[in-house]
């Protein structure tokens, strides 16, 4: 009887990681997305990233809004707490969650509709707060779940399935994030797992807001000829500007490399991101330079990918707030209640 089965996320090997878990332990429920949906590849990359980072599943909080992309947290790390919230509201919910427990690793999955239309304001303000989380936009240029309307990331001139051309200028999450002072900005492609996995790991290790804009084609509504978010078009125009290698804290950086073409960034947790640049003059730590270079390339219709900008300097919400190291949700009540004596003293001021 007809029924399109999709393979559960692949697990090439069952070798346990440092905490004794296999890749399978990082998988989730079977995907209910369309066969060939870019989002499923992102899911697979996320599974591998967590597996390789040896993250204890229950220390992961995975959040999303609403959309096909926002469904994907169901498909990875079933051992983690998840929150499939409301359309465009994930950034605020993640902010509150993070405020309550700074000890967890936060990953948010969103779509271009969820993040750039209804959720744009919240995304921008989460960036401003430098909320400590990895924020992945599975960007397909359309509203998949509502069947193919243009999203705000649709390029001028890109064609809908019906052949209509979009005329409004797109919102580019990468440029937007750079303008708003984001501290970790990357772009990738669901079809390029080799690039995506280390980016995800770096983004998870980064303290602060890490944004990864992943071009993730919608095979059902936006993979046709004339779409600038199709597999074909993306492959053709994609250009890896900076190749990121993630080196976990323990491991030390061996092998000498060409200083001019490589930058090493040490993150708060001691891990290192080694950035090999395609162009010598591209400096992923100089916001202004990055801006100029990206504008130029995108002006030429290129799709620059990689870890485009990183700044490990600035503090996150908790640094700004001076929050105690113990997660607020775990501070014992005794420490929170000033008690009756204090209340009596205080009330002298109310006379």
């Amino acid at each position: 009887m007809a029924s399109i089965k999709k393979p559960a996320v692949l697990h090439p090997n069952l070798r346990p990681n440092a905490i004794g878990l296999t890749m399978r332990d990082y998988e989730g429920a079977m995907s209910t997305l369309c066969a060939g949906c870019g989002h499923d590849s992102v899911t697979a990359a996320i599974v591998r990233a967590f597996y390789e980072l040896d993250t204890p599943p229950h220390m992961i909080a995975k959040l999303s809004g609403i959309g096909c992309s926002s469904k994907t947290p169901t498909y990875f790390v079933s051992g983690a707490h998840g929150f499939n919230s409301a359309h465009g509201r994930m950034p605020a919910i993640a902010t509150g969650a993070n405020a309550a427990n700074r000890a967890l690793t936060y990953i948010g999955i969103s779509g271009d509709g969820d993040s750039l239309s209804i959720g744009l304001g919240q995304l921008c303000h989460a960036i401003r707060r430098n909320l400590n989380m990895l924020y992945v936009i599975e960007n397909n240029g359309v509203y998949g779940l509502t069947k193919g309307q243009f999203s705000a990331s649709a390029d001028v001139g890109t064609k809908s399935k019906k052949g209509e051309a979009n005329r409004q200028s797109p919102i580019d999450p990468v440029m937007l994030a750079l303008t708003l002072g984001a501290t970790f900005v990357a772009r990738s492609f669901s079809g390029d797992k080799a690039q995506l996995v280390p980016l995800l790991k770096a983004g998870l290790a980064h303290r602060g807001f890490a944004l990864i804009d992943v071009i993730s084609p919608c095979v059902t509504f936006n993979d046709h000829e004339g779409s600038t978010k199709s597999y074909l078009h993306t492959r053709k125009h994609l250009l890896q500007l900076v190749q990121a290698d993630f080196v976990p804290p323990a491991r030390e950086i061996t092998a000498d490399y060409d200083a001019g073409s490589t930058v090493n960034v040490t993150l708060h947790d001691g891990s290192n991101v080694r950035l090999s640049k395609v162009e010598r003059d591209y400096d992923p730590t100089d916001r202004r330079a990055v801006f100029a270079s990206l504008q130029q390339r995108q002006g030429r219709g290129e799709v620059p990918t990689g870890l485009l900008y990183v700044d490990k300097g600035s503090g996150d919400v908790h640094d700004m707030n001076g929050t105690s190291d113990t997660p607020l949700a775990q501070v014992p009540y005794e420490k929170l209640c000033p008690g009756s004596a204090a209340l009596d003293r205080l009330q002298e001021a109310f006379r």
Binding site: N84, L328, A329
Partner: protein
């Protein structure tokens, strides 16, 4: 009508008409505080505009030895400091009353054309101009000057005022100096020119020794601190802003870790109310006690996520300091217009828990209750305060705290409990409250759960199957009903020979109780019930059952409390029993509104008071 030949102590009302942004507020507050320190029951209502500087603002003070300090509607003395509203203000002095004005410039006669009141001219401008050079100082000190005159006219204890000024300006000697000068000049002018004190006056008593002077928003903030709230998210909006200002202040005082100097709280100024409630939900989902404070427009914006918290069963405390709606409405006026908007907030079938404080001390008490209920029932809980309670200073009993109090965190599974479980299911088994245990992120992977606002079955799995869906929403309905036993009981005051009942809510309390006393004095005997929580419990039902005629007194146009009482109780013929008394012009309720409405109907009983009727027409 009062006889003003005879002396009347500790029983009068006055109104001060000022221009906002001129510093009158502090002078007026000072006077109110002084009366409080004289041990006399007093209330002060600040009727200010939605503006920062230059528009009319009024401050009403009512002194009453019996503690009847609800808003008064006619004034023994009006201090008319605002040219713009002078004409209106003169009219409001009760016949036989007094009007104090600035006589620096002569007033054209028609402004003095009331021969049933006494005009007290004080050349305030001239006086302060003689003493001070700086123009800003002149503006500010004029207020202190009329305060000085009032000290003499009303017999306010000068020593107390002096003492307060010293407290206030201990570090600013120059300012202290100026204040004293201004105060004296006003005082001395009054002594020299009028026969002080006036027939209505103050006299020390000791009715406030065990009391404090506090506004509801400060009390609410304090309650949140004592409840153990650690995450607060908000977006500024009048009249709720001072809740967070106070919460922040208290946290800085009480929540900074002695050793580490780190903060055991996190206050998030959100980009808007949609984000604020989202942050609260996220924090509560993660195990923190979290709340937001807002007003009507914010409630509207929170609608969608309130439904998410309801359906996904996440605790959330929402403080709604109500203001006059609809839309932007009158941001600096009070109302009780969000009752239905909160009770049924969000699309689809939803019902929420509401708490109704009537005074600052109840704001403190019920804000603590709000967190316990939100966590016990895993659902949003609304604390429905209003501008009058929230922003005015009220005389209330000292706040008490029982150090043995421990928060009721509801059913939350520990790592050990999770470990012991064969398998964790989020929405079953349910307890007597129809609540299932929840697990918190980061505790144990066996507790891992995928929270969603989409269709789910009792195990927590996604579903689109009708009976699985229904099983869960039916439990939610039962859960809400179960909360009726848990919300604070209503306040009931029965009287022998009562022929009918009066039900009210929140800030109407004082005025309604005063009305009941006045009615009793006229032989119209009524029982009293004030609801403090929704869903309604048995005692509310019993009261409804045991009275054939019940007036529901509330401050909104559409009789929202009456609607709730009608639909959410199972009393035969309840709708027909309930008659509405509605006052919703934006100013606090006065007993007159109630007395008049009831006497107009209640037979047998005397005819309505003309004055009251007039008032009712004008404001009721």
């Amino acid at each position: 009508m009062h006889q003003n030949r005879v002396v009347r102590t500790n029983d009068f009302a006055l109104k001060l008409a000022n221009v906002n942004g001129t510093g009158s507020a502090s002078a007026n507050g000072l006077m109110m505080q002084a009366i409080f320190r004289m041990g006399i029951p007093v209330s002060g209502k600040n009727l200010f505009p939605s503006n920062i500087q230059g528009l009319p603002t009024w401050y009403e003070v009512r002194v009453n030895k019996h503690g009847r300090t609800a808003r008064a509607l006619d004034y023994d003395l009006i201090v008319a400091m605002n040219a713009e509203t002078y004409a209106r203000d003169v009219k409001e002095v009760r016949s036989g009353g007094y009007l104090l004005y600035d006589s620096t410039w002569p007033l054209d006669d028609e402004l003095l054309a009331r021969n049933d009141i006494t005009f007290l001219g004080v050349p305030l401008a001239r006086m302060v101009n003689e003493i001070f050079n700086n123009s800003r100082e002149r503006i500010l000190m004029k207020n202190i000057a009329y305060l000085g005159a009032l000290v003499a006219l009303l017999d306010i204890d000068m020593a107390i005022i002096d003492h307060m000024l010293e407290e206030k300006f201990s570090k600013k000697k120059a300012l202290l100096e100026s204040n004293h000068k201004a105060l004296r000049s006003g005082h001395d002018y009054a002594i020299d020119n009028f026969d002080c004190p006036l027939p209505f006056r103050l006299e020390k008593m000791d009715a406030t020794g065990d009391k404090i002077l506090i506004d509801g928003n400060t009390a609410t903030a304090l309650g949140c601190v004592y409840a153990g709230a650690t995450v607060a998210a908000w977006y500024p909006i009048t009249p709720s802003t001072s809740v967070m200002d106070a919460f922040k202040q208290f946290c800085q005082d009480y929540r900074r870790d002695k050793e580490t100097g780190k903060n055991n709280y996190c206050i998030l100024q959100a980009e808007d109310e949609l984000a604020a409630i989202g942050m609260v939900i996220g924090a509560a989902w993660n195990g923190a006690r979290a709340f937001t404070s807002t007003s009507g427009p914010g409630i509207s914006l929170m609608n969608e996520l309130i439904g998410l918290a309801y359906y996904a069963e996440i605790p959330a405390v929402i403080v709604d300091v109500q203001r006059t709606g609809p839309s932007t409405g009158m941001p600096t006026r009070t109302q009780q217009g969000d009752i239905l908007a909160c009770a049924y907030a969000s699309h689809g079938d939803t019902k929420h828990i509401l708490l109704f404080p009537a005074s600052p001390d109840e704001c403190f008490e019920l804000s603590v209750t709000a967190f316990d209920l939100a966590e016990r029932f895993q659902t949003p809980v609304f604390l429905l305060s209003d501008l009058d309670i929230g922003m005015n200073d009220w005389v209330c009993p000292r706040l008490k705290w029982d150090d043995s109090f421990r928060p009721n965190r509801g059913r939350v599974l520990s790592a050990a409990e999770l470990e012991a479980l064969p398998k964790f299911f989020r929405y079953s088994p349910e307890d007597a409250d129809h609540v299932a245990a929840r697990s918190l992120p980061g505790v144990h992977s066996k507790g891992a759960f995928f929270t969603r606002g989409s269709g789910h079955n009792k195990l927590g799995g996604y579903t689109e199957i009708p009976d699985e869906y229904q099983e869960v929403v039916d439990r939610l309905a039962r859960k809400h009903r179960a909360a009726a036993k848990a919300v604070p009981a209503p306040v009931i005051r029965k009287q022998a020979g009562a022929t009918f009942g009066i039900i009210t809510v929140g800030g109407c309390d004082l005025a309604v109780r005063e009305a009941i006393d006045e009615l009793a004095e006229r032989g119209v005997i009524a029982d009293y019930l004030r609801v403090r929580g929704f869903p309604f419990g048995d005692d509310v039902e019993a009261f409804l059952r045991s009275h054939d005629r019940i007036y529901v007194v509330e401050q909104n146009r559409d009789a929202q409390l009456r609607t709730l009482l009608t639909m959410e109780t199972s009393v035969e013929g309840v709708k027909e029993k309930l008659k509405s008394v509605l006052v919703y012009g934006g100013f606090p309720l006065s007993s007159r509104h109630v007395v008049d409405a009831v006497t107009r109907e209640a037979r047998p009983g005397p005819a309505p008071l003309a004055a009251a009727a007039a008032v009712a027409r004008k404001e009721g």
